[in-house]
């Protein structure tokens, strides 16, 4: 990792200085960063409450009434006539552009929460396994190998399947009513509980390497306690792994949401990109392609940007060496 031959005496040497500067030296990475920033802004809009409320779930009666009133013209192709119609309106007449923003909101929630969960579990287990070794390491690595032998989609599926039956609180506390977790919360927990293994492995490897460095021995000799060594001296040295794993993790989370929604286990109570793509089942037959195209482009462009940023980060940090 470090390029100098002199013994490294501080953990921060493990992460090259001026990381952001090096990443931003490339044009594609700069563009990618701007694009991701725009997505974050779009994702924040629904929270500000700037979006007009549209009923998300129609009762059969409402739907029948709506059909009678609007007959076939409930959807309309993209036009520049009004902001709501830039990307057209979908089959029930709701503007695609608002749904895109709601989808960005879901993706943002998913990305932030699932990454945090992954990061916490992966970091803690990785640091523990790498630092203590012995049976702690054996136990954690057993869990990691086991979880990584189960195909990811199937594990995710099993996890969602199981979590749907877990109430937030026991029925006697809530008052007899079994309130299950919300669909988005279930996906976030399932992603967090399954995706930490990759980060854990990386962090463990790096911790093992850092432990044998001179500056750790120096810290031990100076009487630093275990928590201090882990948090002050090792944690900064594994931070770059977290950055890269998270940037690539978000791609997996957004794509997983699409897959899960397709399988009927995804977000069902609010508009998401997965639902918009899933709606293509009904829409493409009637020639309504704009919602599908918009959602696909939204996912595609975000993943492209994250991929480019992730590559730039990896090059700047040169993890492979």
């Amino acid at each position: 990792m470090s390029t100098s031959s002199a013994p490294t005496l501080s953990a921060t040497d493990a992460v090259p200085r001026g990381l952001m500067k090096r990443v931003l030296a490339r044009l594609p990475a700069r563009v990618a960063l701007v694009v991701i920033g725009l997505y974050v802004l779009a994702g924040l809009i629904p929270w500000i409450g700037a979006i007009p409320r549209f009923p998300q779930q129609y009762s059969p009666l409402q739907l029948a009434g709506e059909r009678a009133v609007q007959s076939e013209d409930s959807y309309s192709p993209p036009s520049v006539a009004s902001f709501g119609r830039w990307f057209g309106t979908e089959i029930a007449g709701r503007p695609v552009i608002w749904r895109l923003m709601c989808g960005a909101n879901v993706a943002l929630t998913l990305a932030v929460c699932a990454s945090l969960l992954t990061l916490m579990i992966g970091l803690i287990f990785g640091l523990l396994a790498g630092y203590f070794g012995g049976w702690v390491d054996a136990l954690i690595m057993w869990l990691v190998t086991t979880i990584s032998s189960i195909p990811w989609v199937l594990l995710l599926l099993a996890m969602v399947y199981a979590l749907r039956n877990v109430p937030i609180l026991p029925p006697e506390v809530v008052g007899g009513e079994r309130r299950p977790l919300g669909p988005l919360a279930i996906i976030i927990i399932a992603l967090g509980l399954t995706d930490w293994v990759g980060l854990c492995r990386l962090v463990r490897g790096q911790t093992l390497q850092l432990r044998s460095r001179d500056y750790i021995s120096a810290a031990v000799a100076m009487g630093a306690g275990t928590p201090r060594i882990i948090f002050r001296h090792i944690l900064p040295g594994v931070w770059h792994l977290v950055i890269i794993t998270s940037s690539l993790g978000v791609i997996a989370y957004v794509q997983a949401e699409v897959v899960m929604t397709f399988l009927g286990l995804g977000v069902t109570d609010q508009p998401s990109w997965g639902r918009m793509i899933d709606d293509a089942k009904l829409e493409l037959l009637r020639g309504v392609w704009w919602q599908f195209a918009a959602a696909t482009a939204a996912v595609g462009i975000l993943c492209l940007a994250l991929n480019i940023l992730g590559d730039a980060l990896r090059d700047a940090l040169d993890v492979r060496r």
Partner: protein, 314 residues
Amino acid sequence: MAAYLIRRLLLTIPTIMGIVLITFLLFNVIGGDPARPFAGKNPTPESLHAILAKMGLDKPRFINTTEPLNTQFFDLVRFKFPHSMRYDASFWELLAERGPVSLTIALPAFFISLGLQLGLSLISAARLGRWPDYAITAVCILLLALPPVSLYYCMQWVGGAWLGWFPVAGWEDFPYSLKYVCLPVICAVLASLGAGTRFYRTVVLDEVGQDYLRTARAKGVSETDVYLVHLLRNALVPVVTTTVTQLPLLVLGELILESVFQIPGLGGLLVGAILNNDYGVVMPVTYLSSISYCLSLLATDILYTLVDPRIALK
């Protein structure tokens, strides 16, 4: 060698036990009552119990005092899976019936994709930093970014509805199935192309600077042979890993692909089972694919010595 194999075999045991435990915990302990989705609106305890009995789940989970081996947990260990209520068949019957259909799509797709991935990565490495490399990388990144569901719908729309070259979806028995196989196979190849090519490109690039290639060139070996004979053989190790670990999983088919194209394989079956909470299909698929993955990792370790004699097993 023998000592290594025995140790490797012993190391696989805890992992397999872990898989059994995790699947069991997720489905039998945390997951809800597997009989509930099939018991109608107002189930009586008797009807629920009758369904559980039909599924073969009317026994203790872990500990049975009279017959110690007759528990749900040991059924899992012995590969005795619960009866599928939705399809009214045991999982093994379903596998025998649907597996071959999945394979007719998955096998050709896998090998075409592998060949293309290797070919494209070799071209990319041979023309490093020039336009073929950039073009291949760009296509791969694009394919990687696109959600597979969208890709399938697009291809279905373009190839099936717009151009009308292939049937949009469906399936018929063998001689006619060829017509239905094309579009799904193309889709499966495209979906796996991006990640694979990028991966093999890094593998090939690791080899490009090696001395043995320079020696080969100095001997007067043609540039094509340098890549196709000398380099490819040395890049075989990761190829073996993916091939061996992926092959057993192919029989399970691809969830989304089979569902979009309405192919009666195991993947499509699984989607139906998920939507209907059919425990008797989802659990065995998860369980079997994990175990087979684990065992094929073991097999790859043994195969490495055949592919690459330099790897000494210790």
